[in-house]
C-alpha cells in the first residue's frame, strides 16, 4: 500500500483523476442536473417531481422559441458562409506575397481581441439610421439613401451577421493561412510545372488537402452560432420586437429574468443536443482511429 502510494507520486494518475473529477462534476454533472430539471415544473427554485416532456412541448409551442430557432438558422447560415468565404479569401490573398502583409493582417485580426459587447455596440452606433452610415451618405448629398436594417424587424438579423463576420473573419483567415503556409513547397512547384491555373489549383488541389483545417473552422463558427449571446445583448437586445431573439438568449432570459427553470433547462438541452448533433461528424472523424 505504501509503495503503491509512493509510486503514484511518480505518475500522472492523481492529477488526471482530479482533473477528470472536475470535468465530470461541473460539466457532465451539470448537464445531467439540467436535463433532470428540464423534466420538471421548476420555476424559481427546483422542483424534483418528474412530469415528463411537458416543458419540451411548451417549448415547441412557444412562439418566441420557434422564432429564436429560425433566427439562429438564418443567422448561422449567412454568418458561416460569409465568414468562411471572406476569411478564406483574405487568407489566400495574404498568402500571395503582398506588400505590407503584416500591416493588413494586423488590421484584419484586431477584432478578435475586441469583446462581442463592444463589437455589438460599435456596429449599433455605426448602423444607427439617424446618426450612422445612412446619415453620412445622405449628408454627402444622396438624400434618398436608405440603410435602416438595424431598425427593421425583417432585416435586423443581417446586421448581426455583418457584425459577427467582422469579428470572426480574421479567425478563419489565421487558421486557413496557417494551413496554407504548411503546404509542401514541392506541391506548388508541381502545380507550376503542370501549368494549372491558380483558381483551379486552390479549389481542386490545395483546399481539398486542407479539409481538416476548414472543418475545424466550421466547428468553431458553429459553436459561436449556438452560443451567440453577448452580441445580441449589445446590438439589438433581441429586437426590434423579437426579430433577433436566439436560443442562447432565450435560455438565459428564462433562467434569470422570467424564472422558469424548467423551460430554460429544456431550451438549454435542445441547444446541447443541437451542438452534439452538428459536431458528431467532426468528433467521429477525429476520434474514430483513436478509440
Amino acid at each position: 500500500m505504501t509503495t503503491w502510494l509512493k509510486r503514484q507520486g511518480f505518475k500522472p494518475n492523481i492529477t488526471v483523476a482530479i482533473f477528470f473529477a472536475v470535468v465530470a462534476v461541473f460539466f457532465y454533472g451539470s448537464i445531467l442536473w439540467t436535463s433532470y430539471m428540464s423534466l420538471t415544473r421548476s420555476t424559481l427554485i427546483p422542483k424534483y417531481e418528474v412530469v415528463g416532456l411537458v416543458q419540451y412541448v411548451d417549448l415547441f409551442t412557444n412562439q418566441r422559441w420557434l422564432v429564436s430557432c429560425l433566427n439562429m438558422v438564418i443567422f448561422g447560415v449567412f454568418y458561416m458562409v460569409g465568414t468562411l468565404a471572406f476569411g478564406i479569401l483574405l487568407a489566400v490573398l495574404a498568402d500571395r506575397r503582398i506588400k505590407a502583409e503584416s500591416f493588413f493582417r494586423t488590421i484584419f485580426l484586431y477584432p478578435l481581441a475586441v469583446s462581442l459587447i463592444i463589437t455589438g455596440l460599435s456596429w449599433r452606433w455605426l448602423l444607427d439610421p439617424t446618426s450612422g452610415l445612412q446619415a453620412l451618405v445622405r449628408g454627402m448629398g444622396w438624400e434618398s439613401f436608405t440603410f435602416d436594417w438595424l431598425t427593421r424587424p425583417d432585416r435586423a438579423i443581417y446586421t448581426l451577421v455583418i457584425a459577427s463576420i467582422w469579428h470572426s473573419a480574421g479567425l478563419v483567415m489565421v487558421i486557413v493561412l496557417a494551413g496554407l503556409r504548411g503546404i509542401d513547397s514541392d506541391l506548388w512547384k508541381a502545380i507550376r510545372m503542370e501549368g494549372i491555373p491558380l483558381w483551379r489549383a486552390y479549389l481542386q488541389v490545395i483546399f481539398p488537402g486542407m479539409r481538416p483545417v476548414i472543418a475545424s473552422c466550421v466547428v468553431l463558427l458553429m459553436s459561436e452560432v449556438i452560443r451567440g449571446y453577448d452580441l445580441i445583448i449589445a446590438m439589438t437586445k433581441g429586437g426590434p420586437g423579437i426579430a433577433t431573439e436566439m436560443p442562447a438568449k432565450f435560455a438565459v432570459d428564462f433562467y434569470f429574468t422570467r424564472v422558469n427553470l424548467g423551460l430554460a433547462s429544456a431550451a438549454s438541452m435542445m441547444m446541447l443536443l443541437l451542438s452534439l448533433l452538428l459536431l458528431t461528424p467532426y468528433f467521429y472523424s477525429e476520434f474514430r482511429r483513436r478509440i
Partner: protein, 294 residues
Amino acid sequence: MTSAAIRREPAFGPRTARVGLYAFLVVSAVFFLLPLLLVIMNSLKPMEEIRQGNLLALPINPNFDAWVSAWQSACTGLECAGIRPGLWNSIKITVPSVVISTLAGALNGYALAQWKSRHANMIMLLVTVGLFVPYQAMLYPTVKILSNVGLFRTYLGIVFVHVIYGLPYTTLLFRNFYVGVPDEISRAARMEGASFLRTFWSIILPISTNILVVVAILQFTGIWNDYLLGLIFAGNDNLPMTVQLTNIVSNARGAANPNVNMAAALITAIPTLVVYFLSGRYFVRGIAAGAVKG
C-alpha cells in the same frame, strides 16, 4: 532562389489583377477599421458636435472631456462613478483567473500527455466535447453549487467559475503541446528520482514559456471580454467592465451622451487591444493552436 520564393511567386500576373487585389485589401481594411474609427472619433467630440447628428463626421474640436466623464462620472445605474470601478474589478477577476487556469491547465495537460491508458482517448473525447457544451446547459447547476458553498455572487465565485470553465480549453492546448515533447525527458527525470510534480516544475515548465504566454493571452482575452459569466456570478460589487459598460450605455442618462459611451467602450477595449498589438505573434499562434482542438 529559395523554395519560399518559388512557392509564393505571384501568379496574379496582369497588372489589373494586381491592382484589383490591393483594392480589395484596402476596402477590407476600411471595413475592419470603420467601427474603431467611429468610436475613437466620437469619443473625442464635445456634445455640441454630437448633437449635429452625424457620428461619422470628423471631430472639429477634439478633447478628452468624454473620456474624463466616462472614467469617473458616467452613471452605471444609481451610482455615477464612471467605469473606473469596473476596470479594477476586471483586473481583480482576470489576473488570478488567468494565472490559475493557465498553470492548472499546464499541469493537467502534462499529466494527460503522460498518462498512458486504454481509456485515455475516451477521456480526451469527453473533455473535447466539454469544450463545446453551451454554457446554458451548465449555468444553473453551477449557480446552485456555488450558492450551497456561499460563493454565488462573490469575488471568489467568479474567479472559480472562470477557472473551471476555462480548464478543459487550457488543458487541451497544453496537452497538444506536451505530446510533442519527447517522453524520454520525463523518463530521464524519473530515473534521477524526480517525482511527477518535481519533473513538471523543474523540467517541463521551464521549457514551456512560449505556450504559457500563448495560453495566458488567450485566457486573458477571453476572460476580460466575458460578459455572461460576470453578469451572473460576479455580484454587484464585482461587476467587470463589460457589464458596467452595458449599464452605462443602457442607462437613461447615458443614452443622451454617445461620446461618453464610446469613450467608455474604448477604455474597456484598450487592455485587450494593447495585449494584441504588443504580442501579435503569440496571439496569432494561440488562435492557430486553439483551432486544432482534440
